[in-house]
């Protein structure tokens, strides 16, 4: 979470959403969760596995970025 890297840009590693309509086929792996609890659980597991940071957007979508 510390913004101390030389580069200020970080890639999105994965996206977790509960709204199927928000999924657009792209290069980023996107996971569809059935409810909010599952969304958070998947995000947490993905965040730990990928050593990434987890952010939640205003539309409820969770993105996991590079640390």
């Amino acid at each position: 979470m510390i913004n101390m890297k030389e580069s200020s840009t970080r890639s999105i590693l994965a996206i977790v959403t509960i709204d199927e309509k928000l999924i657009i086929h792209s290069g980023v792996p996107t996971f569809l969760a059935k409810d909010k609890d599952t969304q958070e659980k998947i995000s947490s597991e993905l965040g730990r596995t990928l050593s990434g940071n987890i952010y939640k957007l205003a539309n409820g979508t969770i993105i996991i970025t590079q640390e």
């Binding site: 958070e40 995000s43 947490s44 939640k56």
Partner: protein, 301 residues
């Protein structure tokens, strides 16, 4: 042949210089706690280089008196050595950056390395002045019981002056700190007071931050101080010192308010102590880099 033998009073004056220099390095050693990962080794390195610096400073004047000008060139060799030590210190600290949860930053490392080098010069100057004053006093009074205390006193006065001169300022001089509540708005945006700091996606993490986190707002006291606080190196130094002395359980992040120049800091520390956190921040040195920025601004005005 007799002229080649060191006279006892010359030896005494050199010893006086070495004593003052060595004690001065010992005295300044306290400030090194934050700079070394291993204290015993750090102490040994500093005391040894301090002793060498003191010896060089103490013998410079007697060497000149003996018309041994070649010996004086050792001063330049010593300066080169101290510069190498500074470079080595810089490289060591830079190589340790990846190990730190919050890196020091290049400006802070540069400041530490400069301090490390400058202390050797302080030692050298104070021992040089001690020896030279012993010779001067001797030209008026031949009594060793007066020469010793007078030259020691002059040496320590010079040391005290140089130590204060190189001391620099801390953040205590340029800002005030107020505690501010942590709050999540719009679901996942973390605010310290009314300042946005960061986005935290998971609700479990949000709960942890609200429970264990501390939020503070640093307010610079003037326009120039805003510039100082805005320096990226200065902010890295703040983050580093806070995380190093309190430990970081989870997050540490700063964010600047563009309107008023305030700096918000949020930390989830291992030791939750707001008073200690304030003291840590107040005691952080103002980096020389930020001072330069400030001076330039003054000139432009």
């Amino acid at each position: 042949m007799e002229k080649q033998i060191l006279q006892s009073f010359v030896l005494l004056h050199i010893v006086l210089g070495v004593i003052v220099g060595f004690i001065s390095r010992w005295w300044m050693l306290r400030g090194d706690i934050r700079q070394y990962p291993t204290l015993p080794n750090g102490y040994l390195i500093n005391l040894t280089t301090g002793f060498i610096a003191a010896s060089i400073g103490a013998v410079a004047y007697p060497a000149l008196l003996a018309k041994n000008y070649v010996a004086v060139t050792f001063l330049t060799v010593a300066i080169q050595q101290f510069r190498d030590i500074r470079k080595m210190e810089k490289e060591t600290l830079e190589s340790l950056e990846t190990e730190n949860y919050a890196p020091r930053g290049k400006s802070y490392i540069d400041g530490i390395a400069k301090t490390f080098e400058a202390r050797n010069y302080i030692v050298m100057i104070s021992s040089f002045v001690t020896t030279i004053s012993a010779f001067i006093v001797r030209s008026f009074i031949k009594n060793n019981f007066l020469i010793i205390p007078i030259s020691l006193l002059i040496g320590f006065i010079v040391l005290f002056f140089l130590k204060n001169y190189t001391k620099g300022h801390t953040l205590r001089d340029i800002l005030t700190i107020t505690e501010a509540p942590l709050e999540f708005k719009d679901g996942s945006n973390l605010y310290v007071g009314n300042m946005y700091v960061m986005n935290v996606g998971l609700s479990a993490t949000q709960t942890r931050i609200l429970k264990n986190g501390i939020g503070i707002i640093m307010k610079p006291i003037g326009e120039n101080e805003k510039v100082m606080l805005n320096h990226s190196g200065q902010r890295k130094a703040i983050v580093h010192e806070c995380s190093r002395l309190l430990g970081v359980e989870r997050y540490i992040e700063t964010r600047r308010n563009f309107d008023n120049g305030n700096l918000a800091l949020v930390i989830v520390p291992m030791i939750k102590d707001i008073t200690r956190l304030k003291e840590i921040i107040y005691d952080i040195p103002i980096l020389e880099m930020t001072k330069k920025t400030n001076d330039k601004k003054k000139r432009d005005d």
